[in-house]
Structures are given as C-alpha cells and as structure tokens.
C-alpha cells in the first residue's frame, strides 16, 4: 500500500498526537530553542572580542549588560510609558477592529470598505505620525492613537475575512433549524470565525508594539524605551542601545508567546476541524 492510500484511507483524523507524545515533542523543541539562544549569546560575547571591533558598533554581551546596569533608573522609568501605551492601544485596536470587522464582514453593503482598509494596510502609516504628534503633542495620547490606528487594520481585515469565510452551509443549516439572527451570530458566526479573528489579534498586537516604539524613537520628548534608544544612540552609548533593544525584544517575545498561547487554545482545535471538513461538491 502506498503512503497516499494510507493517508486517504484514514477518514477518522488522528492529526493530533496522543497527549504524552505531544508533550515530549514540545519539550524537545523547547530544548532546541534554548540551545540556539544560548549559542547566540555566546557568539554575541565572543565575536566582538575576537574581532576587537570598535565599541561604537558591536558591544559584547557583558558590556551591554554593564551599560544597562549603569542606566538602570532611566530604563526602568521608561518601561511604564511604553508598556501602558501598548496595552491601551491594544485594547482600542482589538475592540474597534473586531466590532468593525464583524459589521463590515456581515454586511454586503459595507464590503467596499474592505478595499479601502486593504489599501491603507499597504501604506506606511508611519508618515502620518508627525502630523498626529503636532496635533496632539508628542505624549502618550498621540502614541496610543497612532498605535491603535496602526494595529486596528489587520484586526479589522482578518475579522471581516473570518466572518465572510464562514461556510455558507453552516449558515443555511442553522437557518433551516430555525436560528434567529441573534442565535446565528452568537452560536454559529462568532465561534466559526474565532480562529481567524484570534490570528488577526496577534498580527495587530505585533503592529501596535512596533508603532509605539517607532513613535517614541521619532519624537524625543514622548518618553519610553524608543526615546531612550534614540538618546543613547546620539550619545554613542552603544552598550545601552543594545540593552534597550534587548528590553524591546523581551516585550515582543512575551506578547507574542502570550497571544500565541491564546491562539492555540482558542483556535487550535477549531481551525484543524474546519480544514478537515469535506468541501461541498
């Protein structure tokens, strides 16, 4: 028997490995990841020393950490402005994006808006930040507004496409069973669109983080980690720049891992099943 036949002859999906086996493979993967990270850190320490590169360009790990310790209080003081801007902008981008995405996705008359938002997604929106910072001042408010704008578009687009991609058959069969419009929304459309919506939240989250840091780097008075990076760069304090980059990476990593875990939890099973459903012939 060929592999193809074996695969086809298995209508009962055993896509997911049994629990203990999955855990083991996940642990092995984690081990490999940690090993790669450790290797990179060792290289970071050794390569600048071996190359004896000028300290303004590449700084060994130990020197970066020392620079971070020297600048400890401004760095710690910058965490909250950055973090709070990210969190507030996330809430805005997600809420507005989900609600607008659902409305646009379910209403044929508003579909044309998707084209507009799709086009906006391609525009480097960062060009409008100078305007926003002139109108609202370079503080937290303009940061949050810009980051929300930046993050809302992928959330809106993926939510709308998630709602639109809900199988017409599911809709019809629920209607034939007497589902009211409200039941159709809460019991069919929302759960069916959820996996796609959550993947949009992750995309939007990444953009919000980028937007906040970029705002901070562009406006020297806005505060936050981005502003510090620009400041240290101007002062040729490469070690502190490296350290701040590490802090931003840590932000990104924590956020992505959290959202990824939510995505797997909420969407994993449902996403797999939708894909294994037979297609209408």
């Amino acid at each position: 028997m060929s592999t193809v036949d074996e695969v086809r002859g298995r209508p009962v999906a055993d896509v997911a490995l049994p629990e203990p086996e999955r855990d083991r493979s996940r642990r092995t993967l984690l081990g490999w990841r940690l090993a790669v990270v450790a290797l990179l850190l060792v290289c970071w320490e050794l390569v600048p020393r071996l190359m004896s590169a000028p300290s303004a360009f590449i700084v060994p790990l130990s020197a970066s950490l020392r620079a971070g310790a020297d600048q400890w209080s401004p760095i710690v003081g910058s965490l909250w402005p950055t973090l709070s801007a990210i969190l507030v902008a996330l809430v805005f981008a997600w809420l507005v994006g989900i609600v607008a995405g659902f409305v646009i996705g379910t209403s044929p008359r508003l579909r044309f808006l998707l084209l507009i938002f799709g086009a906006l997604y391609a525009v480097p929106l960062v060009v409008v930040y100078p305007l926003i910072s002139v109108w609202l001042g370079p503080g937290q408010v303009s940061k949050v507004l810009f980051a929300s704008l930046y993050g809302v578009i992928p959330v809106l687009l993926t939510t709308a496409s998630g709602v639109r991609s809900v199988d017409e058959g599911l809709r019809r069969s629920a209607q034939s069973m007497g589902a009211s419009p409200r039941q159709l929304l809460t019991k069919v459309l929302i759960p069916a669109a959820l996996p796609v919506v959550v993947s949009g939240l992750r995309l939007g989250g990444g953009l919000v983080l980028i937007a906040v840091i970029v705002c901070e780097m562009l406006a020297s008075t806005s505060g936050g980690i981005g502003t510090l990076i620009t400041a240290y760069r101007v002062q040729f304090n490469a070690g502190a720049v490296y350290f701040c980059i590490l802090v931003v990476l840590a932000f990104a990593l924590v956020m992505d891992q959290t959202l990824g875990a939510i995505e797997r939890r909420v969407a994993g099973d449902a996403a797999k099943t939708t894909r294994t459903q037979p297609t209408p012939g």
């Binding site: 209508p11 009962v12 294994t276």
Partner: protein, 267 residues
C-alpha cells in the same frame, strides 16, 4: 384547492404535505438574470418518499432550497401542511445538506441537539433526545466525538439525526450521500430506508444517482435543464420493504433505464 396534475402517470389524490406551485427563479449575474427554474410545481403527499433527479444545472438543489424556505423564489407559492408560508419552518420541515454542515466545535451529541437548543428546550431533554437519535443512526458510542474524529459517512448520519430530532413532517435531503463512496452510499441508502420505515414521514430526496432514486422512492420527479423544469413524474411501484437484491431485478432495471432515457431525451 386544485392539485396540479403535470404529466404524472396517475393523478395525485392525497393532500400534499408540502407543495410549491408556479415556481420561477432566476439568478442575478453580471450579464443579467439567468433563469434557473421555470414554472415548476412539485408536491409530496404524507408518508411519501419522493426523489428529484436531473442533469447538473437543472436547478434541483435550488428547488430543494426553495422547498426548505431558504431561498425565496422570484415567483411562486409554497405551502406546508396546507398553509401558505415563507421562510424556514423548523417544526415541520428539516433539511439534511450534502456536506453534513456540522458545527466543528461541537460534539456529535451537541450537534444533534442543536435544533432543540435553538428553541431553548431544557438541557436534560436535549441530551436524552440527542442520545436517542444518535442510537437510532447507529452512533450510540460516538456522542462525545467531534466531527473531525468521524468519517464522512458518520458525519452524514449525525446530520440525519440532527434533522430527525426536529420531528419533521417533511425531511428534505440534498444529495446527502453524494460525497460518499459507492459502497458507503448503498449502505446509507439501506439504512435510511430502515429508519424511514420507523418514522414514516415525507421525504424529498435530491440525487443525481438514478439507481439510488429508484431504490429509495415511491415516485421520482425527473427534471431537465436550461431552464430547469419538471419533465415527468415516474411512479416506482416496487414492493416494500426493499432488500438490496431488488436492485438486480428486471423491474428495477427497467425503471432505472426509463429514468435514464427520460433524462437523455431532454439533452
């Protein structure tokens, strides 16, 4: 009330449980309206098993959706149990679709009980009835399985159980076994008849498989395409119950060939 008499072999004497008359339906496309159905009258009496066959594009699935109240035709009327209605009638008419259309995030039991949940029946009753129906379709041990863990045939059984939980006077089936392999299709047909013997409601069954139509039905409505219309209504006077061996009898083959010629002659 007059009952339309098409070119049926024998006048329909019994009161129809479901009936559509004077159905016209066109689809709107960029190049203008395309007629899908023209002047179609279809009815089914109580406890009749009626199949609709025809070439692809004859609008048989569209007709079924109109019977289900899921598509509003351009013109024509629809009667269920004597009353003129528009829209779905979940307490009288249930639909089983070609792809089972199960909700993937719900277990088999929760899928079967879904219609009862929509009309807010108490949970205990939903579960009891759901289990009862799963047992009827031979899936008693699969209540907690998710659709992805079931084979195509099993999913279709869950869909049939879900339709039957509505205790419908009319069960509409849109090529329910169309996506299954030939062997499973025959098994499912046999099982459907056994189930129907018990429930004995009205079934309207859309298929493109002529043998399946003859095997299952009391009458077969033959449709033609461009525009979709009813050509003839063929009575299937094979005795019931029907063992699978009946498909090898001369009478069966004769009926099947007759349907075949009717469809061929329209091309």
């Amino acid at each position: 009330m007059t009952i339309p008499q098409l070119n049926a072999e024998r006048p329909l004497t019994d009161e129809a449980v479901i009936r559509v008359t004077g159905i016209q339906h066109s689809y709107h496309t960029a190049r203008g309206p395309v007629p899908a159905l023209e002047n179609v009258d279809v009815s089914a009496g109580p406890k009749r098993f009626v199949s609709i066959v025809g070439p692809s594009g004859c609008g048989k699935s569209t007709l079924l959706m109109i019977l289900a109240g899921l598509i509003t035709p351009t013109a024509g009327d629809r009667y269920v149990a004597g009353a003129k209605v528009t829209g779905p009638q979940p307490d009288k008419v249930a639909v089983a679709f070609q792809d089972a259309c199960l909700l993937p995030w719900r277990s088999a039991l929760d899928n079967v009980a879904f219609p009862l949940e929509l009309r807010k029946d108490p949970r205990a009753e939903r579960e009891a009835r759901g289990r009862e129906l799963l047992e009827k379709v031979g899936l008693a041990g699969y209540a907690d399985r998710y659709p992805r863990e079931l084979s195509g045939g099993m999913r279709q059984r869950v869909a049939v159980a879900r339709a039957l939980i509505q205790r419908p006077a009319v069960l509409l089936m849109d090529e329910p076994f169309g996506a299954l392999d030939e062997q499973t299709r025959m098994d499912m047909g046999e099982e459907l008849l056994r189930l129907w013997d018990e429930i004995h409601n009205t079934v309207i069954f859309v298929t493109h498989n002529l043998a399946e139509a003859v095997y299952l039905s009391d009458e077969v409505i033959v449709m033609a395409a461009r525009p979709g219309r009813v050509v003839e209504r063929v009575l299937i006077d094979l005795p019931r119950p029907r063992p699978v061996e009946i498909t090898e009898t001369e009478k069966f083959l004769h009926l099947r060939n007759r349907l075949w010629r009717l469809i061929r002659s329209q091309e």
